[in-house]
């Protein structure tokens, strides 16, 4: 218990602590306000261009809406139609899964392969790196148009195949070859992925390779047990981005389908190029079923979120971070 002599001193202490606390709180509030001021452009943008449209589109997904007239509430009808009655919904899903299960892994693989080739080049690396990276500079529309011409059934690639007595597929006219054709476009633009892998590969400490070699590991074993784990974060990153982009795949498919004949249906030929976003575009911006398009977009969002969570969870098992934490 404080004595009378200590009480004024204690009171002074308390007063200065309180003042300090008040000053600290004011300083903290000041800091908070400054931070919020710096964040303000994003906060405004987030509310105006993300939160509000998301709520809006969720609302639209329960309506029948063609912009011209007022939206009509229809409850779950859009969702029910999507899963049970839409003739091309499951076709779109299958095509999109093809991209995610085949094109994305192929791209990641090709990125690793090309990067590995470049790690062994000692002279002229900048030249090769430039050449490999150059195609990613090409706008998607131009790349698609270029490849439509190159993969023309009577075009240069087929001529070369013919000279080598190999079968000449009809590429973008044959529904079995349209997606492989798009994969070729995707592989051509591998440069960006390759650069990331190159940096990562060069980052692998040499001691690990030397240690492995000392233990008698062959080259492919070194690759499997040293290289792969070391670059696994980049693999994870590439697969994640590739998957998200795969769900949204649209431009190349659109340009390729319509280039042969402008009146072709989206997804021509034979719906082989009807991807999820293509179907959404078809229903929303050609058929003007805006409510249905909104419903499709929300389903897509949920699926992407789910797949992302699954991928991240699985990554804990096979991705090895040098730093130790994410």
């Amino acid at each position: 218990m404080a004595t009378t002599a200590e009480r004024p001193a204690a009171a002074l202490e308390q007063a200065s602590t309180a003042a300090r606390r008040r000053r600290r709180r004011r300083a903290a509030r000041h800091r908070q306000l400054v931070a919020l001021a710096f964040m303000s452009p994003w906060i405004i943008g987030f509310c105006a261009f993300y939160v509000y449209p998301m709520i809006s589109s969720l609302y639209f997904s329960f309506t029948k809406y063609d912009i011209l007239s007022q939206p009509k509430w229809v409850g779950l009808a859009n969702y029910r139609f999507m899963f049970t009655s839409d003739p091309l919904f499951w076709v779109a899903i299958r095509n999109t899964l093809w991209i995610i299960a085949i094109m994305v892994p192929l791209q990641v693989l090709f990125g690793i392969v090309t990067a590995t080739v470049l790690t062994r080049i000692k002279r002229g690396l900048p030249f090769y790196r430039t050449v490999f990276f150059l195609p990613t500079m090409v706008p998607l529309v131009a790349a698609a148009l270029g490849f439509i011409y190159i993969l023309n059934p009577a075009g240069p690639v087929n001529r070369v195949l013919g000279v080598l007595h190999l079968p000449e597929p009809l590429w973008f006219v044959d529904p079995r070859w349209t997606k492989p054709g798009l994969t070729l476009i995707g592989l051509w633009g591998i440069g960006q992925v390759m650069i990331i892998f190159l940096a990562s590969l060069l980052d692998v400490p040499r001691q690990l390779y030397e240690a492995a070699e000392l233990e008698g590991a062959r080259p492919w074993q070194q690759f499997r047990y040293v290289t792969l784990p070391m670059i696994s974060p980049v693999i994870f990153f590439s697969v994640l981005i590739g998957m998200i982009q795969g769900f949204q795949y649209f431009t190349q498919a659109f340009v390729v389908s319509k280039a042969g004949d402008r009146t072709n249906e989206v997804g021509y030929p034979q719906d082989s190029l009807l991807f999820y976003t293509s179907r959404l575009y078809q229903q929303g911006f050609e058929g003007f079923h805006m409510g249905y398009a909104a419903a499709m977009s929300w389903v897509m969002f949920v699926v992407i979120m789910a797949c992302t969570v699954v991928l991240i969870r699985s990554s804990r098992r096979w991705v090895h971070y040098q730093g130790g934490f994410r």
Partner: protein, 296 residues
């Protein structure tokens, strides 16, 4: 290469190399270079085909010939005459340029707040920023379109440019990662000197972040230059507002039946500025791409 391996390499260099190993290394080098050269040819061939086709007559373009005969250099002139190429280029430069400015102006302070300031809700805000990266644009496209219709912005480039003055998740992410690598001592020293956060940002951080800013600016410029879907949707109605990407695709439909030679010539003209920028700014590009992947 780290210090230990550098020493090791120097040590290895001093030892004489037996001829079998030298031959093996030469063969390996040749093999590696051959693969690299083969890949280079594969990557370059499409450009050559496009170039070759752009110099053909339309009849030849449809035929199986690979080599132009004769060389129709005037195709490029025809492209400029057939449609207002200059206006489309101007539109594209306006869009890409203003977008880049907007992104830099808005994302730098936001990234600063997320990386170098302590405040309540910082973690949550960062997660929200990241989440917008994962949001497929299709979800917001219909309502955004309606909003822009009400604002009367459809048919102009405003719907493309103005939102970028309010932040862009990818840029914010990149800049935040980079800002975090700048030592805290520099900021602390400036704070002790009595500088406000704004002053620290402008006088300490920004000068140090020039490579990241350059990378981000280049990425945004390139992205806007190549953007197709948004300009198509928002400005597609009004040919005066077309960007080159939209014009190129629409050019396909200018005459019933594609004129492949002109199409390829127009495509090359479209690619050219970006490729030129790339050659001059290669290092920035590569460093920037590395920034996204490895440090992330």
């Amino acid at each position: 290469m780290s210090a230990t391996t550098a020493a090791g390499a120097a040590a290895r260099a001093r030892r004489p190399v037996p001829p079998e190993i030298r031959r093996r290394r030469l063969l390996l080098s040749v093999a590696n270079h051959s693969v690299a050269i083969a890949l280079s040819i594969a990557f370059l061939l499409p450009f050559l085909f496009i170039l070759a086709t752009s110099l053909m007559t339309n009849q030849q373009a449809l035929s199986p010939n690979i080599w132009p005969h004769p060389f129709v250099w005037s195709n490029y002139k025809t492209v400029f005459e057939s449609f207002p190429f200059v206006r489309y280029t101007l539109n594209t430069v306006t869009y890409a340029g203003l977008a880049t400015v907007g992104v830099l102006l808005s994302c730098v302070p936001v990234a600063y707040a997320l990386s170098r300031l302590q405040w309540r809700g910082r973690q949550a805000a960062f997660i929200l920023v990241l989440s917008t990266l994962m949001l497929p644009p299709q979800v917001t496209i219909v309502p955004l379109y309606v909003i822009f219709v009400r604002l009367g912005w459809i048919g102009s480039l405003k719907p493309l440019i103005i939102p970028l003055f309010f932040g862009d998740a990818f840029t914010i992410f990149l800049l935040r990662q980079f800002f975090m690598t700048i030592p805290q001592e520099l900021s602390d020293a400036a704070r002790v000197d009595g500088a406000s956060e704004l002053q620290i940002l402008l006088r300490v951080i920004v000068p140090l972040a020039k490579p990241a800013l350059a990378a981000v600016a280049l990425f945004q410029f390139l992205y806007s230059w190549n953007d197709f879907f948004s300009p198509l949707l928002y400005a597609g109605n009004n040919p005066d507002s077309w960007t080159l990407a939209v014009a190129l695709q629409q050019f396909t439909t200018l005459s019933r039946g594609v004129l492949w030679n002109l199409q390829m010539a127009a495509s090359l003209l479209f690619m050219l500025p970006v490729i030129v920028i790339f050659f001059f700014a290669q290092k920035v590009f590569v460093e920037g791409v590395t920034l996204t992947g490895v440090k992330g």
